[in-house]
């Protein structure tokens, strides 16, 4: 049985979120004091009020999360080296650019955010825009070869993310986030 933790449960997770953010706030100021507590509560309150709350629940799989993290670090290293090569020895092929539309298979804000973030830090690709309904990421590619390869890479990245943070849909309605291709 995979360890399962669901995010998005109403009060319990809300309090947990505030406690965690307070911990981060104290860490950033380097000191636990009443003044920091008061300012932290205000800042966290305003931030949470401004941010849209995602009504979707997710299952977090720690092992898959570690796997995604390691893949991500590896991609960050290779992409930095690739960009460095392009900068030091620019050739027309390496500078060939384009904007490729990559459809996502899951219509889920958290998954789309993580995928879009990772695309930017992986070789050759940079997220320009994200559209919902149907979910599509527009990706700027440096050193473009076949656009279908880019789509395949993004799809693989999305599968890694979904394996780590699985959307479970709105409770009671079953799994309702998958988009038919």
């Amino acid at each position: 049985m995979t360890p399962v933790r669901t995010t998005g449960r109403r009060w319990g997770s809300g309090l947990l979120q505030v406690a965690f953010l307070l911990l981060v706030w104290f860490a950033l100021w380097g000191e636990v004091s009443w003044a920091n507590l008061a300012s932290g509560v205000v800042v966290i309150g305003v931030t949470l009020w401004l941010l849209p709350r995602t009504p979707r629940a997710h299952r977090i799989h720690p092992l898959a999360l570690v796997r995604f993290g390691l893949t991500f670090l590896w991609l960050l290293v290779t992409s930095s080296i690739a960009v460095a090569v392009t900068v030091l020895r620019p050739t027309p092929e390496r500078l060939r650019a384009g904007v490729v539309a990559c459809p996502l298979r899951h219509d889920d804000p958290l998954v789309a955010t993580i995928v879009a973030d990772s695309i930017t830090l992986t070789p050759g690709t940079l997220t320009l825009d994200v559209r919902a309904d149907p979910p599509v990421v527009e990706v700027h590619v440096l050193g473009l070869g076949d656009p279908d390869d880019v789509r395949a890479d993004v799809a693989r990245l999305e599968e890694l993310v979904v394996a780590a943070v699985t959307p479970v849909g709105v409770p009671g309605t079953g799994h309702g986030n998958e988009v038919d291709p």
């Binding site: 960050l76 900068v87 620019p90 904007v99 973030d117 930017t120 940079l126 320009l128 559209r131 527009e138």
Partner: protein, 111 residues
């Protein structure tokens, strides 16, 4: 022995971080357009920060300090792509084309 190993690892990380930062700076001048510059400003620049902070984690005097550095690292990885995404999107919507003669463009220009 462990001390020496830590020094070697930290030193390697700091030097690679500095080299990457230099490459990123040079890249800003050698790339043809905003989009390519965004690539340069995100990937090597982020890895350079990761490497430098990683070196500091290896040499950190305490667990608390190491935790704080890891926090800074995670926040970097989380926010840098968001910033570049906003710059890229703004550039896109202002109608600037990639400076590449055979550029592919599949974006929806409807917005």
């Amino acid at each position: 022995m462990i001390e020496l190993l830590r020094d070697v690892v930290a030193g390697t990380l700091v030097v690679s971080g500095a080299v990457l930062a230099l490459v990123a700076a040079v890249g800003l001048f050698r790339t043809p357009d905003v989009y390519a510059r965004l690539h340069v400003a995100t990937k090597p620049a982020t890895l350079s920060v990761v490497a430098t902070l990683g070196a500091a984690v290896v040499r950190a005097p305490s667990w608390g300090a190491a935790g704080l550095l890891v926090l800074a690292l995670v926040l970097q990885l989380w926010t840098v792509p968001a910033a570049s995404h906003l710059l890229g999107r703004a550039t896109r919507r202002s109608g600037l084309q990639p400076a590449s003669p055979d550029a592919v463009d599949e974006s929806d220009r409807g917005d």
